[in-house]
């Protein structure tokens, strides 16, 4: 280590295993301030969550902590090194996992480990024990010969972590490790990171998922480049105590109830949780006001403990309103059949590998149907067969009674499709994208014009009409993608991981529209990794190892997974429990 670095460590007066000190950090790209005046301490032996909506500056901050960027203002000291000093010793003390895990996809697991071991100067003699320990830790032992590109998302993430941990760093920086990873894999990762912090490592975990933030020892909450909260998540959550409620005993149409509740000036936020509706009252609003509303609706109001997410949304000024202008303009869906989507013994084999194995279910008209499962369970394959993108090896899939692979063009207009990653045309601007999707669904000139105007108005796309979709924030990209898939007012809507990586506020707005559409009789089929989202579904199908292992309402699934220790599991706990049960049986 250089003298300057030793001196700087001495000056800061922190232990050699020290964490990260942020001192009035600012970062500017061109004329845009991405971060302003961020000051905080990240302590060793603790898991620090870096939380904030999309575009809040999380990635920039984490890259600066890793010494990959230099702050424009202020100072960052990571493990005792000033990152601006370009001291090469810094990299010996940090482990960094970038968003896409930083793996070489055409190298095997073993080769990736060996590469990072060499880059981090691990002596050859120590490698064997180190690799054994890491492989054991990540449970990747059986897959050492597999190419990293052929691993599932969860396994890639664990391998990325193993590579980042190679030099036993003092500071571990993880940039959104949870995106696109299923709850089972996420649970593994949590256990691993927990073990590391117990050993005294400083771990920074950046995330847009608030249930992840809730589990951190302390969180830094960023919004529009500023630090708006720094402390244990409970401190923030507790601010909301006495303001969170469940409306229970809602017999029918809890979506309508939510819409009405969100329109109340007394309600700051609301979501659907299985059969119940969760409400957050505005600051200073007494329970009486909500009680009145509950009794008028014929529901029971029960106080529930606040969650971090409630506090987060409240801190950012509350959620969006409950009405969907979009849905209000839509005519109710007329349909002859009560069953919108149906599949019978649907099977898909790729060579000797079975991706979907005799899956059968029906989705009723006006239902929100969720398709859940760990990475690689076969939900994408099933989804693609349903919308006609893949040919089943055997079995049959129909949408409004039609096999979409053989269907005529007219029949295909029954379907709206919103793909993962919001497949928009990046080379066209927003208006041209809208124009294209209106045209491809054959809308005649006058209707096309009206619909586009309507979408622009509903989703507030006006200021961005000439922008490229790539320049939009993730939230606006998602709005545009939804607008494009709804242009022709399809009675059936397919959503493939529609809110992946999107922050909670945007997600609420998204579900407001979906709820509104369902109210008009639109059928929605959605795949998701996001357990909160599963709560919005009327019924959830859980896939595992190519088979359908459970199909019921969210509440029923939770009950099914209830145990003595955990009588009231969350959806995520239920998901993990059901899969463990399946593993035990199978």
């Amino acid at each position: 280590m250089s003298d300057a670095a030793i001196e700087s460590r001495a000056k800061e007066g922190i232990a050699a295993t020290g964490g990260v000190i942020l001192d009035a950090v600012g970062k500017r790209f061109g004329t845009v301030d991405v971060l302003r005046g961020v000051s905080a301490r990240i302590e060793p032996g603790r898991l620090t969550g870096l939380v904030g909506p999309d575009g809040a500056g999380k990635t920039t901050l984490i890259r600066m902590m890793a010494g990959l960027m230099v702050p424009t203002e202020g100072r960052i000291t990571t493990a005792g090194f000033d990152v601006a000093a370009e001291d090469p010793g810094l990299s010996d003390h940090i482990g960094y996992m970038p968003q896409r895990f930083g793996l070489y996809e055409d190298l095997t697991v073993q080769e990736n480990l060996a590469l990072y071991a060499s880059l981090r100067n691990i002596p050859a003699g120590d490698r064997r024990t180190l690799f054994d320990r890491l492989l054991d830790f990540t449970r990747l032992g059986p897959f050492t010969g597999r190419l990293a590109g052929n691993l599932s998302g969860g396994m890639k993430q664990k391998l990325g972590l193993a590579c980042a941990l190679m030099g036993t760093p003092d500071v571990l920086l993880l940039d959104e490790p949870g995106v696109g990873v299923d709850p089972v894999s996420r649970q593994d990762l949590w256990a691993m990171v927990q073990a590391l912090t117990d050993d005294g490592m400083a771990v920074v975990w950046s995330t847009a998922y608030l249930d992840e933030a809730e589990r951190c020892d302390t969180v830094l909450l960023l919004s529009e480049g500023e630090l708006i909260f720094d402390g244990p998540p409970d401190d923030l959550t507790n601010r909301l105590s006495g303001r969170t409620y469940h409306l229970r005993g809602v017999t029918e149409n809890r979506r309508g109830l939510l819409t009405r509740a969100l329109d109340l000036p007394t309600v700051a936020d609301g979501t659907i949780q299985g059969h119940a509706v969760r409400l957050v009252g505005r600051d200073g609003v007494s329970a009486d006001a909500l009680e009145d509303f509950a009794s008028a609706e014929g529901a029971d109001l029960a106080a529930v403990p606040p969650r971090f997410e409630d506090a987060f949304v409240d801190l950012l000024g509350g959620g969006p309103g409950g009405r969907s202008v979009l849905a209000e303009r839509m005519e109710p869906v007329e349909s002859v059949s009560d069953v919108s989507v149906s599949c019978n013994d649907l099977t898909k084999r790729f060579g000797s590998f079975t991706a979907t194995d005799t899956v059968s279910f029906d989705v009723r008209r006006g239902e929100v149907f969720g398709l859940l499962g760990p990475n690689g369970a076969g939900k994408s394959t099933t989804f693609k067969m349903l919308c006609g993108l893949l040919k089943p090896t055997s079995g049959r899939a129909t949408v409004t009674g039609l096999d979409l692979r053989r269907a005529t063009s007219a029949a295909k207009t029954q379907l709206g499709y919103m793909a993962q990653k919001f497949s928009l045309y990046g080379l066209l601007n927003v208006r041209q994208n809208l124009d294209f999707f209106a045209g491809i669904y054959g809308l005649p000139g006058s209707v096309r014009h009206d619909r586009i105007e309507e979408m622009v108005e509903t989703f507030q796309l006006g200021p961005f009409l000439d922008a490229a979709p790539g320049d939009l924030s993730l939230g606006y990209k998602q709005r545009l993608a939804l607008a494009c898939s709804l242009m022709h007012r399809p009675p059936v809507l397919f959503l493939d991981e529609p809110t992946s990586g999107v922050d909670p506020i945007t997600r609420r707005e998204f579900w407001t529209h979906i709820n509104g559409l369902v109210g008009k009789g639109v059928t929605v089929l959605v795949t998701t990794h996001f357990m909160d989202e599963a709560e919005y579904c009327d019924r959830v199908a859980l896939m595992y190892k190519a088979r359908l292992i459970a199909l019921d309402t969210p509440d029923a699934l939770k009950r099914q997974a209830a145990t003595e220790e955990k009588p009231d599991p969350t959806m995520e706990e239920a998901f993990i429990r059901l899969i463990e049960q399946e593993d035990a049986n199978g």
Partner: protein
Amino acid sequence: MARTALSPRRLAALVRKETVQVLRDPSAMMIAFVLPVVLLFLFAYAVSLDIRNIPVGVVLESDGAAAHDLAASFSGSRYFTVTPARERDSVSAAVVSGKLHGFIVIPQDFERRLELGETPLVQIVTDGSRPNTANFVQQYAQGVVLTWLQTRLAAKGISAPSAVELVPRFWFNAELETRRALIPGAIAIVMTIIGTLLTALVIAREWERGTMEAILSTPVGSVEILIGKLLPYFLLGLIATGVCTILATQLFGIPLRGSWAALFAMSAAFLVPALGQGLLISAWARNQFVAAQLALLSAFLPALLLSGFLFEIDSMPVAIRLVSHVVAARYFVPVLQTVFLSGDVWSMFLPNMLAMLAIGTAFFLLARSRTKKRLDL
């Protein structure tokens, strides 16, 4: 904790990684091995400026014995494949449609003109739309007529020897086969593809896939990253030279009159600017699409067109001649042609080597000013 700038272990790991990646990526393998063989094959067989069997018409309007004899001389020439005709119209259409590249008219009064020494004796019409071929048709047809006249005069005993005669000696390529010059030159094209195109693509890919970010956060120094990236492609380039040379000498019968040592030394010198350019491109364009476009435009096409490989640089306009001086291939193509066909001419190799190294150094300095161990620069 003293830190050496270069750690052999880290370097070895990076080089090993890069090698495994090349070996596993079919598109890289195609670019590195299949495409060179295809190009070499095409330059051996498809691209040929050799003049033999040019299809021409001979219009015999006269029935005289001398006229028939001249026509026979044309048929006997190895440069021409003759379509005989009695009138112009039948061959002129074939010239328009491109089936014949010209025709020779032996006129009705040929015997009389020959007798009286009247000129012109015969008429040559060429298809000027292909100027190079037209030039050769003219040259060789004139040659045939002259030789015929001289033989005829000699037979009559009135030989009139010309005052000056040129005795040609075609050095290095006695048969004047264009293939012998093209195949050595093609090695420069192949090395440009590997050195510049492939290198630019693989570096751009690391940025695109986020692996560069992960590598940069480790103790690896930027010099190590550079060497770890370039060394494998440097070796790949030399291997390609070896493979192409073996193909050229064994399969296509090109001699290697110089030494392998000179060939490899000069190839190594050429790889410096080639890799430097690849590096510079990837420092500028961090996505594969733009990198490929730039590499094609700034490296491949100049190597093909402005290196003297297909077209003589001296015959180009002044502005283009000037531009060609910064094209590294311009210094490599003549070296290759020489080392294969002529021998080790160090008095030519050394200045060219210096020029290539100078261009390479410039590329590396430019690239270095853009490549830092940082993401925000």
